[in-house]
């Protein structure tokens, strides 16, 4: 019996560490955190930001798997929503940026001016899309 437990423990450990490497490598190489640090001019605090990502990842995983009751944090539910929204919004656009979507499209359709409006359009579209998704319960 304990052999099976050990094998399962190995599975769990390996799965966890590989998922961590994959997911957080993805988050970092999309450059979301370094973008934040650059926009706010606080590149000297990168260590702190990395710690925040690490702790967030560990606690978020525990909270989801073990279904911890978080009722004492209920006043901060809106905070969770808005910050996770900001993060995912940056993530989505960073992904498009890494895949060179914008330069390629803008070059193909010969757009050189009004790139700001293109970005605005994407943002409004994302917000509308998310609203429709949640409103109609897709």
């Amino acid at each position: 019996m304990w052999v099976k437990q050990i094998v399962m423990a190995l599975i769990g450990l390996s799965a966890g560490s590989i998922v961590a490497g994959g997911l957080f490598g993805f988050v970092v190489s999309l450059g979301i955190v370094s973008d934040f640090a650059d926009r706010t001019g606080t590149a000297n605090r990168i260590g702190l930001y990395e710690d925040a990502v690490a702790v967030g990842g560990i606690l978020g995983n525990l909270a989801l798997l073990y279904e911890f009751p978080l009722t004492m944090f209920s006043p901060f539910l809106g905070l969770f929503g808005i910050f996770s929204g900001v993060f995912v919004g940056c993530w989505a656009l960073a992904l498009a940026e890494v895949l060179n979507v914008f330069p390629i499209f803008l070059r193909r359709i010969n757009v050189t001016k009004g790139i700001g409006f293109v970005i605005l359009g994407i943002a409004v579209g994302k917000v509308l899309g998310a609203s429709v998704y949640f409103f109609f319960g897709w």
Partner: protein
Amino acid sequence: MSVTKEILYIKGDQNVEVKSQDVTLGDLVSMECAQEHVLSKVKSLKFLKIPDQGKHRYVVSILKMIECIHKEYPNLEIQNVGATDIIVTYEGTKQKNRVWEACQVTLVVITCFIGAAFAIMAFNNDSGVPEIFEQIYEQFMGKKAAGFNILELTYSIGLGLGIIIFFNHFGKKKFTVDPTPIEVEMSLYENDIQTTLIAQSSRRGQELDVGKTNSNGSHRS
């Protein structure tokens, strides 16, 4: 005032921040010359005058600096071993607001924390990690899992380990001397920004280069 054929080596970083409005060559590049007095003279040559205390950014060609040195020492041979285009930034005299900076840091920390928590939750949920664990447990033990088991526990430990090993540090404690992944990403990002600034300024003809009379830098917004 001709000198014997001496060689002056100059080396500049691609990105220089200046503090005073009178910019000398010594502020922009480091240099080395066998003749001490030439070196100190060249270092103190005035190169650029920043017109007001606002934020300014210039892109300067190294040729412009060489021209500036040649005006004083026409016979000096100059070897550039550094960048060929240098971004000069003047941040103005305004002090950075500490409270505002603390607010920004807090906001970024919260976004990173909650964002990472959300990302791992979304991943676990999307790939059905709890269901996979349930199935693995059942296949191994031949019965349904009653509550949580070793899989969740070790997965969580593995995840924590993986994250910390990936980021290569926790708090102040670093595990190897390598820079952390975000530090690497940050320096790549800064390189991209510098390349873009130089390309933009040379496309618009704003670069301070030889054969041009312009001296107006771009106003930073």
